[in-house]
């Protein structure tokens, strides 16, 4: 029998010593094991990796990594230096949303029975510039993309309906202007 795992869209209560919302961008050698090396540094220093997005770089010998991190901001600079020290890391740096465009996408599957519920849901989707990407008699999958707080807001609003499941891509970022990420 399948185990019943409860999921929730509520955020855990914030801890005073933990500050979320740091986004790091790394350019690394595209080889097995690189992610292990990086993750171990964060785990050892009790930083939580909230999201991780990895994909091949323009040059397939390299990968681009975007990490969403929460943890003590005081030690973060040193951690970045530790990451930079890894032989496989070309560079690692932190970006604030002023310096960079940060985006993510969420897929949200909601129960959508009855015309009233459907209309309401579609209004929300329209408001957030989202899209329905799957539609059945009883459910729909909504796609929302944008800055993280916009995705958060949409998820919060949809939480008053019966959400079946949600999936988020995690943040990707790119430095603004001509600056390299």
């Amino acid at each position: 029998m399948a185990r019943d795992i409860k999921t929730t869209d509520k955020k855990p209560a914030p801890r005073a010593d933990i500050i979320g919302g740091h986004t790091l961008s790394m350019y690394v050698v595209n080889e097995p094991g690189v992610l292990m090396r990086i993750c171990q540094i964060f785990a050892r220093r009790a930083y939580n990796i909230d999201s991780v997005v990895v994909s091949q770089g323009r040059d397939p010998a390299f990968s681009r990594l975007t990490l969403g991190i929460s943890g003590d901001p005081a030690g973060l600079h040193q951690i970045i230096l530790q990451c930079n020290k890894l032989v496989d890391v070309i560079h690692c740096s932190e970006h604030t949303s002023q310096q960079a465009v940060v985006r993510e996408m969420a897929l949200i599957k909601v129960k959508a029975e009855g015309p009233e519920t459907r209309t309401e849901l579609l209004q929300i989707v329209e408001h957030f510039g989202g899209k329905t990407v799957d539609l059945t008699e009883s459910s729909m999958i909504i796609r929302i993309e944008g800055a993280s707080d916009k995705v958060d807001a949409a998820t919060r609003l949809l939480a008053s309906y019966e959400i079946i499941e949600t999936v988020r891509t995690g943040k990707v970022l790119m430095a603004r202007g001509e600056v390299a990420t």
Partner: protein, 590 residues
């Protein structure tokens, strides 16, 4: 006839195969070209092709069979700490590789170059729990500078060259190469000279020194009235002895060193304060508390030298010179950093430093040398300090001294004053028991004409004593000094001071007769029981050079090392003698 004909055809084919090279042979050829002199190791199935290549490839490499893989790593470590050059550790997969972890961690903590080559299951079995498969790549990630799992035979020479480059440049460290058996056994058809390709690794930046940082550091130095120079292992690795001497002379500044920096500044020099830290000299620690400037050259402000971090150097400006940017502001917030190779930095810095004389400050520092000298009681039996003091005198401070970990190590650091770099070999960052004796073997291989003394406790020596066989076989004249207190002395000291003298897990009952044990290996053994015999017996050991000699010195069982700064306490809370009142449990770990 038909059958015979068939057989000889196979024979010819085999011969043809031999004229080409397999991966293992390409690997050994490359190591030889890289100047590797010694391979310390232990054989096994997955490493068979590489062991065979040691026989089939003509090279200058000498192979040393140890009695345990941990011993092999510490030998390579001792070799590197005596020469600055890496040796290779070669072991099989699974348990063989697993036994190297402690030695790899020890090298990593102390920035020692080392190349570890592990045999591995064939590639198509990886991840399937095949016989003697261990994910040594994954297991060692946190304890290496870098590691490789080789999947293509033709990549072996390039990876070996990359491993050597990474291990020996920048901040040195151990690099592991995991070689599946099919990779080492397959035919090599690549380029032996294929160039290294490490786009994320730029050790050459350590020689591009930021001049503005140097100028700021010089301003702080020239403004100081009560400076202390703190010299670490980084200064030694950079070969900055002459530049350090010039800086100390210009500044007229006392110099203290870390455990691993011992010898980079001569400890018998009037400006030397000896070692600082938990069991450092009282005058070094007091100088750290009273100074107005600390110039740290190549030390990582280890917790054993800073004690309570927020009180360390609270009165002082702090300049930190280090090759590793991630060490800056890690333990101690500094006023000015200069990132780079210590020698290159000092070369840029020295011309900006004004020559001056600091009479008043040096007088105050020297008054503490008189007030709190290192000493020991001559009464109450034979003490480790006496043995160490006498061997220091007898060898004129010129021997290579390796140590194990414990009370004997701290007393050796206090009483064996080093005049030169590369002659003090001790596990600092990891504090690895079992390190002392095998590292002495490695150092003796590296420096056959030097006197090499392994200072060990009776506890730590028993962790790797099987290597007596290795020393005997190679007739290495290592002096194994077992300072025997029948206790895990350092732990017992903590229990006495902080746990109401409740002994728990520290009594070494069941110790062997070390002299008989040595003799059973064909190693000379000498007992020292009486204080009056120390000089004579040590001289006898020093004069014996036909092979190793073990000296078992029966020492006072319950002596304690002072000065002592309880872990995590401020330097000013140093104990220079046994406390009269009950001590609170230390807040720091060890």
């Amino acid at each position: 006839m038909e059958i015979l004909w068939g057989n000889s055809a196979i024979f010819i084919m085999a011969n043809e195969n031999q004229s080409t090279m397999d991966g293992a042979q390409a690997l050994i050829k490359t190591l030889d070209e890289l100047g590797i002199e010694y391979v310390f190791g232990y054989s096994g199935g997955a490493a068979l092709p590489i062991f065979d290549a040691l026989e089939t490839v003509e090279s200058n490499i000498k192979f040393v069979l140890t009695r345990h893989e941990q011993g092999a790593t510490h030998m390579a470590d001792g070799y590197a700490r005596a020469t600055g050059k890496p040796a290779v550790v070669l072991v099989t997969s699974g348990p063989g590789a697993g036994n190297t972890i402690t030695g790899i961690m020890t090298a990593q903590m102390d920035s020692v170059p080392m190349i570890i080559i592990t045999g591995q299951q064939v590639t198509w079995m990886l991840g399937l729990d095949a016989f003697q498969e261990a994910d040594i790549f994954g297991i060692t990630i946190p304890v290496v500078k870098h590691n490789f799992l080789v999947r293509e035979t033709n990549e072996l020479p390039r990876i070996a060259r990359e491993a050597h480059h990474i291990a020996t440049t920048g901040r040195p460290g151990p690099v592991l190469i995991d070689v599946p058996k099919n990779v080492s056994q397959s035919d090599f058809s690549g380029d032996l000279d294929s160039p290294i390709d490490l786009p994320g690794y730029k050790p050459e930046l350590a020689y591009e020194i930021d001049q503005a940082d140097v100028e700021q550091a010089a301003l702080l130095i020239n403004a100081a009235k009560k400076p202390v120079i703190l010299a670490g292992h980084g200064a030694m690795i950079a070969g900055a002895e002459a530049e350090l001497m010039e800086l100390a002379t210009r500044m007229d500044s006392p110099v203290t060193s870390t455990l691993l920096g011992k010898g980079v500044f001569p400890e018998d020099h009037p400006l030397s304060l000896g070692m600082l830290g938990m069991h450092g000299t009282a005058y070094a620690n007091k100088a750290m508390c009273e100074c107005d400037l600390i110039v740290n050259i190549g030390s990582r402000f280890d917790d054993r030298i800073i004690g309570q971090a927020d009180k360390f150097g609270a009165q002082a400006k702090i300049v930190h010179i280090d090759i590793d940017p991630s060490e800056i502001n890690k333990m101690i917030k500094v006023d000015q950093e200069v990132i780079g190779d210590a020698k290159a930095v000092l070369k840029a810095l020295n011309p900006l430093v004004e020559g001056k004389s600091n009479e008043e400050w040096n007088e105050a520092v020297n008054a503490n040398k008189k007030k709190f000298p290192l000493g020991y009681k001559k009464q109450g039996g034979l003490r480790m300090q006496q043995v160490l003091d006498e061997i220091y005198e007898l060898t004129n401070g010129d021997a290579i001294v390796t140590t194990d970990v414990g009370q004997h190590q701290m007393w050796a650091a206090q009483f064996y004053k080093n005049r030169d770099s590369w002659k003090w070999i001790s596990s600092g960052g990891a504090g690895t028991m079992g390190f002392g004796f095998p590292s002495a073997i490695g150092a003796q291989f590296a420096c056959p004409d030097e006197t090499v003394i392994a200072v060990c406790g009776d506890g730590g020596f028993q962790m790797t004593l099987c290597e007596i066989a290795t020393a005997v076989i190679h007739k290495l004249p290592v002096k194994i000094l077992v300072l025997n207190n029948h206790y895990l002395g350092m732990v017992r000291q903590w229990q006495e001071l902080f746990f109401d003298n409740r002994e728990s897990g520290v009594d070494l009952e069941g110790n062997p007769d070390f002299v008989k044990l040595a003799e059973s290996y064909g190693c000379k053994g000498i007992n020292i029981k009486r204080q009056a015999d120390v000089g004579k017996k040590l001289q006898e050991a020093l004069d014996y050079n036909d092979g190793p000699v073990l000296i078992n010195a029966e020492c006072v069982k319950t002596d304690n090392v002072f000065p002592m700064i309880p872990a995590g306490a401020a330097l000013e809370d140093m104990l220079t003698e046994p406390p009269k009142h009950k001590m609170a449990k230390p807040v720091g770990s060890t």
